[in-house]
Symmetry: D2
Subunit: 338 residues, 4 copies
Amino acid sequence: MIIVLRPDSTKQQIDHILDRIRDLGFKPHVSQGTVRTIIGVIGDENKLQAEPLSAIPGVEQVLAIQKPFKLASREFHPGDSVVVVGGRVRVGGGSLAMIAGPCAIESAEILDTIAGAVKAAGANILRGGAFKPRTSPYSFQGMGEEGLKILRDVGDKHGLPVVTEVMDPRQVAVVERYADMFQIGARNMQNFDLLKEVGQATKPVLLKRGMSATVKDLLMSAEYILAEGNHQVVLCERGVRSFEDSTRNMLDMSAVPNVKGQSHLPIIVDPSHATGRPDLIPAMARAAVAAGADGVHVEVHSCPEKALSDGPQALLPKQYAALMSDLRRLAEVMGKRM
Amino acid sequence: MIIVLRPDSTKQQIDHILDRIRDLGFKPHVSQGTVRTIIGVIGDENKLQAEPLSAIPGVEQVLAIQKPFKLASREFHPGDSVVVVGGRVRVGGGSLAMIAGPCAIESAEILDTIAGAVKAAGANILRGGAFKPRTSPYSFQGMGEEGLKILRDVGDKHGLPVVTEVMDPRQVAVVERYADMFQIGARNMQNFDLLKEVGQATKPVLLKRGMSATVKDLLMSAEYILAEGNHQVVLCERGVRSFEDSTRNMLDMSAVPNVKGQSHLPIIVDPSHATGRPDLIPAMARAAVAAGADGVHVEVHSCPEKALSDGPQALLPKQYAALMSDLRRLAEVMGKRM
Amino acid sequence: MIIVLRPDSTKQQIDHILDRIRDLGFKPHVSQGTVRTIIGVIGDENKLQAEPLSAIPGVEQVLAIQKPFKLASREFHPGDSVVVVGGRVRVGGGSLAMIAGPCAIESAEILDTIAGAVKAAGANILRGGAFKPRTSPYSFQGMGEEGLKILRDVGDKHGLPVVTEVMDPRQVAVVERYADMFQIGARNMQNFDLLKEVGQATKPVLLKRGMSATVKDLLMSAEYILAEGNHQVVLCERGVRSFEDSTRNMLDMSAVPNVKGQSHLPIIVDPSHATGRPDLIPAMARAAVAAGADGVHVEVHSCPEKALSDGPQALLPKQYAALMSDLRRLAEVMGKRM
Amino acid sequence: MIIVLRPDSTKQQIDHILDRIRDLGFKPHVSQGTVRTIIGVIGDENKLQAEPLSAIPGVEQVLAIQKPFKLASREFHPGDSVVVVGGRVRVGGGSLAMIAGPCAIESAEILDTIAGAVKAAGANILRGGAFKPRTSPYSFQGMGEEGLKILRDVGDKHGLPVVTEVMDPRQVAVVERYADMFQIGARNMQNFDLLKEVGQATKPVLLKRGMSATVKDLLMSAEYILAEGNHQVVLCERGVRSFEDSTRNMLDMSAVPNVKGQSHLPIIVDPSHATGRPDLIPAMARAAVAAGADGVHVEVHSCPEKALSDGPQALLPKQYAALMSDLRRLAEVMGKRM
């Protein structure tokens, strides 16, 4: 950690700062510049960050040097982590997660139709929401446990592990009973009690980036899950809020190599929520694979105009099949298995 | 609701759209333009929004006309709502909430010192966090129920109602036991299960705007609480994420008149979290009162450099007292009571 | 255009609005809803937009239906435009522009080295700045006309057409004398006098997206150039400002299919300025090709640590060669020529 | 400047970095931490910034300590600068600029009506655009020199100095002939050739913040003008781009105290362009004065529904008069002269 002092800091202030640093068990190292004095602080920065050094009189700014996450970092775990979903689908380390399904589970019949179609197209994990985070209290809120049962049955029938969203710490037990993977949605990326709860569970977690979260924030939220003992975390870039008003969110594709440079965790891309537009989803799914993502998450619905949630952003089964055929060729160029 | 058709939409597509609208119980009204056809849909838009009309072939865009919130709207409740905290402090309708206190409750002694100072300066509600949402799992997470007891005792001693954050639906009961007002933090503005839970409680709620929430999103989250029966909601602008890197967030001051034009709910401003900089907080607190806010929320700490959370953004008690003296004169110009 | 009236609009206000619309030569079409009245306005929206309809008392909002650009739109020109640079390099319609070179022209020797390297790696257009837009007045501002001469000579020697930035309408003539293509930088995307000036020139234009420009804004700026008679415009996505602080800008990859859906103009991607990080550039260049971009613009320098401008974001020649080998395989999958 | 090395940097790399620093005429100062080595570089940072230190192998990041602007900084000029417009209106140092007028100059009659009204309400500078930066090439582009003449005549008649926008370096001479103050619009904040041109002129400059400019960027653009010798610069906060879609831009009110802490230059606020909504403008004008701004810039039109540009965001003369009455009382509380 580096403490930059104000040009007008007094000797008394500097001495007070040095005392505080030593009191906290760290070693200060003073550099006298022509305009400013800077103090290097030597020791474990994770312990020091909690201390409000920048509030000490005479301090202009405090610059962190070390990364604030540890278990999620490549320094801690140099190789790529591979997360195994449902005991058989590998995500990361060259294996791609092709997650597909409707936004919400609406009925066994509809989900069965969609699952059959995406399985045939090459998807290896089925998605579907039973607990839905809706902006409006008057919108469809999901089928709850009944939906989870349908998801489990349909997944088993088609031989697809299943992932579904959990929104409330009190739902973790019931979701774990039915699903192979928890999804933490963008709105809950910093719902820390929920992160701790899935961190104590035994199933893997798909953690979506929050709408205004930096890549560092995303990795800090992963750290919450890892710190509780659950090391099976897959990250998901799904777009962030921006001024561009022709897409639902702005897909930050650079998050893929950005995460991979700093962390061993797999990261997939969700072009459906990122763009909200079926005409843009295929191009963004292709770009994700070429950027090195460990998978793609796409919403598919057999009848988007009757979907109870987010119909307008779903691909039709035949559009998904055409996309998967492109992705297969790109995965080959990238040396990945689908 | 207005449905704009694509220039190349076919008669068959248009007929299908008209059938769907009538099936849903609405009345379509067709306008044939020189380039495009548009269809006005007459009926209760809140029911219609759930339907994915934009996924129907031939549709270019669907434009909503009515506001998606109802109980939070001025149309529903034309006068200003007044929320009463702790049975005596009025917020809204010309009465200002002056909320002050430390970020986190650290000990009875420190809180007592701070409470005495802010009370003397004119604060009328005491704040302090017992459950803290921290970006890092390694940071201080709050004192929990022990902190709540301290907050209650110190508030009672100084005759100040108390507000504190609740992060998890399972904490609502215990927080309600000790506090006079729930705070829902920015990270939980769209934690819908938590909103429903405080919506069923009997104490008022201070709902902070999410870091990437629009004003409409904020009002939709208030609607979740109102829809459960709790009408005692105070909104709080606390800054949103932006590209400006010299302040912690960007304070959207225009949210104050923007909310007031659309909603009857009181809205206060939190310049501490918005700027993260004590040198900017007083100017932003003054601006908030001049903009018509129903109160100001400021973090105050007697020794910021030893605070366990967010010390660098706290004002010292004497800085807070000087600020309150300015705010009193501005409130008078604005015709408000402090 | 659709005019939505306020719920409390009076008959007198509505009559006044209808009169205004007819005065302007348009035909109004009234739809009476249960809560609100809406008025469809039939006629050429481009003429109407200039009129401040939303300022008329009783109007709640005015919704545009038609796109505000015309010459840039696919409706005007359904096929893909192909822009030819230097009489031989085709951009668009399946042909990729591989633009490479240093940020700034520094000397004939350095440029010659870099040009030889990027030509060998497969680049087909050479870039280099002679007039540099620098945030600080104390930074290197470019070599001016002397740099243009060097660029021309080095381009000719290696058989590469050259593109360079023009910042001031007064520089257009001299830049046109030496270069094969004008570049309009992000900071000048809405420098309308400059756009008009290159619109009257005869060389093609590479128009970069502004840092806070929407896709629609970008197309409107292209419209300025097209409206002056120069139809040789190539667009460039180069990242926009965002809250993410670990990359220089946020690359909006979805702009590629987004533009292609609305416009016939070619669009390329510049991952160098978008990310500012050599470790992220190759992944973003690959993603651009997979997303359907018509080319990639990459800064390359033989000695980044001594570059006079933006050295830290340049690839080394050997890194560029490795990237080009990947891009060649991806272009093949996409059915494109490089 | 502080150079942070990568944990895996080699001794050879460190020696190379130290050699480079000494070659450039600076003195390195090495601190060996437990995980990382950091190098403090002592000397004039403005000279060093041009050097691409972060491109040197082994370097993780380079942290600037000094501010990149000099003439604009408070360190260079500790007192508040006062800019005098038209030989008599003082801006800064306790004197408020109350700038008002229509967006565009449309005719002598209309401008005369508006000027009379705003003068009566207390405005002290008249604004009006003769050269208009319009997003669409098909919108009204301004009256040019004829408009400038009208502005001069009307200003003289009412005893108001006049400010008008200049968009092109070639217009500087003609604008200087007629106007008392140049306005550089948001879209041209980084039009560096234009900045240099007005920097060589003798009239004061009103420099508006760019839509995606940080406060530091704004001060760097002011530095361009100051560095050419023109020290009469007034800054203007007018909102930045954000995800909030109910206002035209997001007014960053904290820019007022933020600038004042770092710079001696006056700063005013333009709530008209910031919000684009007459219902929000008065509250934001009041907030600006309370935040400590040196003036307020408001668009006023006698018939907004017939304005040729930006009519919907103009206040009516009577609304402006009511606002000015509020501002007068707030200015008094703030100890300012209007």
